[in-house]
């Protein structure tokens, strides 16, 4: 009986637990044939290329336009211009609607229209439920063809970018890759430079309009639409929709060539508030077009792609030095990309990790990879090949991209073949030829106080200065024509105000005003009296809720009287006061008579006035009246980043035959900060500078 029972148990055990094969014994059926959809492609009568693909799985319609431009076309003194153009193209609205109205309209339909800028292309996309796809398409067209670039949204974009620049070193993880790219491509080339505060001062609405006009035209655009529609109907729709957009422009020039020379070395930036060192190691790589692309891809994969790569095995699994570590042959379509290795490790193991990476790199260059490594790397690519075709969007995107960059239609299959053909000898050869340790820029960011071995164990360390550069005092282009134009504009302003002689006769003034700070800036109301005696004595008396504040300066020094007492004017306040004196009305509009000042035209209705000492202001004139209605200048508040101040003047009234503004709107970094209403201006009161300089008597007990 026992035996029988045992046998039954045994049998049922076997039955319940079917034998499970080893993974090595699994047999795989051939993969079902992939249906690769063929997009319809044609050219609209206005020259725009179109690709269409039906996909009826869900009631959605999507579109993606590629515009042949890129941030490589940014002018060196207006870096970021292309990005601002793409952003404000969407946010700044169209002739008929503001950007905010478009936001609302689209979101009411749960739809989107977006615009973006890349290095070598710009894009505009939309996504809509089928039920609203016609409306969304017309919004898409409106944004693409009739953008208005409203100033307020450019101001917003500039404010945002200024904040982003201020924050760019906060996340240590983001620094090494950025700095490595700058070093590899050269920090002064379009491939390597970055947007600085300074650039923001040079970018004006007109620049965006010009950039848009130059690059956004039908012949320069490819549009792919995919989703739940019928191709013939969509074709007709698009023909009709874009029929009236016929602007033309000359062909877009080629992108600049990559011109960088290798700048190998160890580069280090200190960040005290991290426990890890983040690193990026890189050198110039290649394009997808070159014949060794497949072999390089396989070599880089074996070295550092995926969980089973050598770097992962060695540095993460065996040494436990890193969570994140990878190598990549990052090829580009049309210009050399990079070969790069990146990751992070605890501060203590910084140097050891970099050394271990070097060992792996040298192994790749000195010994053939094993047959198993090669097979697995190739199989990884070939077996996952089907994922290139798992959505119509991917297919359409690829077809468009091949045409955009001039690749053969069957490029992907050529690549597949090339991967199959890669040998161990190929991998060794390309590693030797292209993974060049002597060219590598090694960028590390971390806290050196916690390093185990110092970084200098590896060689000479170049320190990267992460300080964000303050805007230099910019200069508009200065030549005979701009000087002439500047004088003409000032003369017109002098005329409009009542004549140069009358202005020159003003030797002092006294002005009373009520300043209201914007609620966002505290909402305070301040009574002011401003007095000036030519050439450079200035005194401001202010009544604040906290008490009286008086400031006086003769342009070289001065004092401040606060409720707490009197003190010498601190340097930042003096600097600010000197700016005020420089921009005093009567001397400012007569700047063409002052040898220490340079006046250049900075646009059809603007001049820039500057001194050798670094004072600078942009004055804009009313096109109709010629009056100087705006001053734009930079000011550095105590300890803060420099801000751009914009004063706009209105309510012009005549005082002793001279037109002067009685209302001033003050904005800082594109945001209203206060408003002043002038109640009285008296000219030539006869007061002397000595009287202005009198300090208030100390309060008696």
């Amino acid at each position: 009986m026992k035996g029988l029972l045992l046998a039954i148990c045994f049998a049922s055990g076997v039955f319940a637990q079917q034998a499970v094969p080893s993974y090595k014994d699994l047999k795989y059926p051939p993969l079902r044939q992939v249906k690769i959809p063929e997009p319809a492609s044609f050219t609209l009568s206005n020259g725009m290329r179109v690709f269409l693909l039906e996909d009826h799985e869900l009631p959605l319609v999507h579109g993606l336009a590629m515009i042949h431009t890129g941030n490589l076309f940014d002018p060196p003194d207006k870096k970021g211009l292309s990005e601002f153009t793409a952003q404000v193209l969407r946010s700044g609205g169209t002739k008929s609607k503001t950007g905010d109205q478009i936001d609302e309209e689209l979101e009411n339909m749960a739809a989107s229209v977006e615009s973006a800028m890349d290095e070598t292309s710009a894009s505009m996309s939309f996504s809509a439920l089928k039920e609203n796809s016609d409306t969304v398409l017309s919004v898409f067209k409106d944004v693409l063809t009739a953008p208005e670039f409203r100033q307020d949204k450019l101001d917003l974009a500039i404010t945002q970018t200024r904040s982003a620049i201020a924050r760019r070193n906060d996340d240590a993880n983001a620094i090494p890759d950025r700095e490595m790219m700058r070093i590899v491509y050269g920090p002064t080339t379009p491939y390597g430079w970055q947007v600085e505060y300074e650039d923001l001062n040079h970018i004006h609405r007109e620049d965006l309009v010009q950039f848009y006009r130059r690059y956004y035209f039908p012949k320069n655009i490819m549009l792919a639409v995919y989703g739940d529609f019928k191709i013939p109907e969509m074709k007709e729709k698009l023909e009709k929709l874009f029929a009236d957009w016929t602007v033309q422009q000359p062909d877009v020039p080629k992108f600049p060539e990559v011109s960088a020379k290798p700048a190998p070395g160890i580069y280090f930036a200190e960040k005290a508030d991290v426990t890890q060192t983040f690193f990026a190691i890189g050198e110039l790589g290649g394009t997808l077009r070159e014949k060794d692309y497949a072999a390089l891809q396989v070599a880089a994969n074996i070295l550092g792609q995926g969980f089973s790569s050598r770097l992962m095995s060695q540095i993460r699994t065996k040494l436990g030095y890193a969570y994140d570590i990878s190598a990549q042959w990052a090829a580009n379509w049309d210009h050399p990309g990079t070969f790069r290795i990146g990751g992070s490790t605890k501060s203590q193991s910084t140097t050891e990790t970099l050394q271990a990476i070097r060992v792996e790199l040298d192994k790749m260059r000195s010994t053939e990879v094993t047959a198993r490594e090669l097979d697995e790397a190739k199989e990884g690519v070939l077996n996952s090949f089907v994922f290139f075709f798992d959505s119509p969007a991917k297919t359409l995107n690829r077809v468009m991209r091949y045409e955009y960059f001039g690749y053969p239609k069957d490029f992907l299959f050529q690549y597949q073949k090339a991967i199959s053909a890669v040998t161990r000898a190929d991998v060794l050869r390309v590693a030797k030829e292209r993974f060049l340790p002597e060219n590598l820029a090694i960028v590390a960011v971390g806290n050196p106080k916690e390093f185990g071995k110092p970084l200098s164990t590896l060689g000479k360390v170049n320190v990267i200065d992460l300080t964000i550069s303050e805007p230099k005092s910019e200069t508009v282009k200065s030549d005979a024509a701009s000087l002439e134009g500047g004088r003409a504009l000032l003369e017109r302003a002098q005329q409009a105000m009542g004549g140069a002689d009358k202005i020159a006769a003003v030797k002092d003034y006294s002005q009373s005003a009520d300043m209201t700070m914007d609620p966002s800036a505290g909402g305070m109301k301040i009574k002011q009296q401003n007095r000036w005696v030519a050439p450079s004595a200035f005194r401001q008396d202010q009544d604040l809720p906290i008490g009286k504040i008086i400031a006086y300066t003769d342009g070289k020094s001065g004092w401040l009287s606060l409720p707490q007492g009197v003190m010498p004017m601190p340097p930042p306040v003096l600097k600010q006061a000197q700016g005020e004196i420089f921009r005093e009305w009567f001397s400012l509009v007569l700047s063409d008579r002052d040898r220490s000042r340079t006046v250049n035209a900075a646009g059809p209705n603007a001049v820039e006035i500057s001194t050798a000492e670094g004072e600078r202001v942009r004055v804009e004139f009313d096109e109709r009246t010629g009056l100087p209605i705006r001053q734009i200048y930079k000011e550095t508040a105590m300890g803060g980043p420099p801000s751009e101040v914009k004063e706009t003047y209105s309510d012009w009234r005549e005082v002793d035959g001279i037109k002067l503004p009685f209302k001033v709107l003050i904005e800082q970094n594109g945001k209203k900060s206060g408003e002043a209403a002038v109640s009285e201006i008296k000219l030539n009161t006869g007061i002397k500078a000595e009287e202005l300089s009198k300090r208030p008597e100390p309060a008696k007990k």
Partner: protein, 496 residues
């Protein structure tokens, strides 16, 4: 009037319709050991996405072992007695030896003041040797290599507060391989290279939390807002807990929580449900039935007043404010979701419009209706990245003004209609990716008992009125239960 009514009805009609269509594509079955499967057919391309949703997360970490759920997630890639070894019997003995030595080390350390540093050093060296011996039997990363060389893409895993997720996609013909690998790793995982991986996990914490200003801020916010409930610790755990993990602790955790009844699997793509069921029986029925693990018993006590916490960092400022809210099972859940969308959805959200677009005092700002997760009472979160030159205080004030506004005035019908539209479209957009579907259906099935909630939830959203929104804003966005966390520059001369 009639037109309006129709428009209101339209979304729910459409949702019922899409559910009916969708239901035809879903096959659901449960093995006798309790493991649940959701199969979603999408035959557009010969690929399949797999998602394993384990109903266990960092809330289940035992005291002193914060981060152990995450640690096990890492161990799930280390292989089995047949995958990842050169010689299993020898490796097994070596692994056991490591633990014996480590026990000795711990025993000596527990003597506290009386422990002998020399002994500790000696045992430490012994431990190092033991680990080296065990490592010599390891076939490195074999599990990963099998997946990757067979064309697996998107392989990864993640540990959250309430769940742990494992996922990747294969070409359709490798389906059986997935069944084999996935069942093996949950049937008999081998915790090899445990102490090296512990270092890796520690590095992950350094990267995500210690070296990131936002990471530090969130850690402080949670630790302050929650006093008792495990949501107070981030899934990564505390550094010192990680540094002292022992392998048997992770093993115990696995045995307790990775029972078949606690695991749900989503498979989406070019899959034949009958074939999937056959393979599920063949491979996963091997997991022995076991009782369901315990649930968290600690309930967060009522918060009795506003809390503030500052994190010093030289980085530019961040602000995060969390208000206590009930769990995802509250009848107010849908209204809170709608409220969050009104506050911060897209470019029409009130917070974006006010702080970013019009006042320009923030570079970015928004809200999240449930944070850090939803199974237990959590936070309704606001976050603000101030613009350069604008302070935390200024932004905090402006944010409160918006909150007061939604507590005082009802939103208009157009806003409600817009949010409904957006939620419906968001659902449709979720349906076009295998990996997204596999994960969403698992999450809804585990969290709400039925994957259909993904669709029926829309009806709940459609029932939310402006009165409901006003009511939940008034009920939950109150000073008494809020926690404010912000970063600030270190004081002069202070710590760097």
């Amino acid at each position: 009037m009639r037109v309006r009514l129709l428009a209101l009805l339209l979304p729910s009609l459409l949702c019922a319709q899409s559910l009916q269509d969708f239901e035809k594509k879903v096959t659901e079955f449960t093995l006798s050991n309790g493991m649940r499967f959701l199969i979603i057919e999408r035959h557009e391309a010969p690929v399949v996405s797999f998602h394993t949703y384990a109903n266990v997360g960092s809330v289940d970490d035992p005291s002193g072992e914060s981060g152990i759920a995450h640690m096990f997630e890492h161990m799930a890639f280390k292989g089995t007695p047949t995958i990842g070894t050169k010689n299993w019997p020898k490796e097994k003995a070596a692994l056991d030896h490591i633990e014996a030595v480590y026990d000795k080390l711990d025993a000596e350390k527990r003597k506290s003041f009386r422990s002998d540093p020399k002994k500790i050093e000696a045992i430490g060296a012994e431990l190092k040797d033991a680990i080296a011996t065990a490592d010599s039997f390891v076939e490195e990363n074999e599990y990963d290599r099998i997946v990757e060389s067979n064309g697996g893409v998107g392989m990864n895993a993640g540990t959250g507060e309430d769940s742990t997720n494992y996922y990747y996609s294969f070409p359709q013909n490798r389906m059986e391989l997935w069944f084999l690998l996935e069942s093996e790793r949950f049937l008999h995982p081998v915790f090899r290279e445990f102490y090296k991986e512990r270092d890796v996990v520690r590095e992950e914490r350094r990267m995500r939390v210690e070296s990131s200003p936002q990471g530090k801020l969130v850690e402080a916010l949670l630790a302050t807002a929650f006093e008792a409930h495990p949501y107070r610790v981030m899934p990564g755990g505390w550094a010192s807990d990680i540094d002292n993990f022992r392998m048997p602790e992770a093993e115990l955790f696995y045995k307790k929580y990775y029972t078949p009844g606690n695991i749900t699997i989503g498979i989406a793509g070019d899959v034949n449900p009958a074939e999937a069921k056959r393979l599920a029986e063949k491979y996963f029925a091997r997991l022995p039935k076991a009782p369901l693990p315990p649930v968290v018993r600690t309930v967060e006590p009522k918060q009795e007043g506003e809390k503030r916490v500052a994190v010093e960092t030289p980085a530019q400022p961040f602000l995060a404010i969390g208000y206590k809210r009930p769990s995802q099972y509250s009848s107010d859940n849908a209204a809170l979701d709608v409220l969050s969308d009104i506050l911060s959805g897209g470019r029409t959200g009130l917070i974006y419009k006010e702080l970013v677009r019009d006042k320009k005092i923030a570079l970015g700002a928004g809200s999240q209706d449930t944070f850090p997760s939803g199974k237990y009472p959590s936070l309704f979160l606001f976050f603000v990245i101030p613009s350069s030159g604008h302070s935390i205080e200024e932004n905090e004030k402006a944010l409160y003004a918006i909150i007061e506004h939604v507590k005082k005035d009802k939103v208009d019908d157009a806003t409600i209609a817009r949010v409904r539209m957006k939620l419906r479209a968001a659902l449709i957009r979720k349906l076009d990716s295998n990996s997204g579907l596999a994960s969403e259906l698992c999450a809804y099935s585990v969290n709400f008992g039925d994957w259909r909630k993904l669709f029926t939830e829309l009806e709940e959203f459609n029932k939310v009125t402006s009165d409901d929104v006003l009511r939940v804003a008034k009920t939950y966005l109150i000073e008494n239960t809020r926690t404010i966390a912000y970063t600030q520059a270190p004081a002069e001369g202070g710590a760097k």
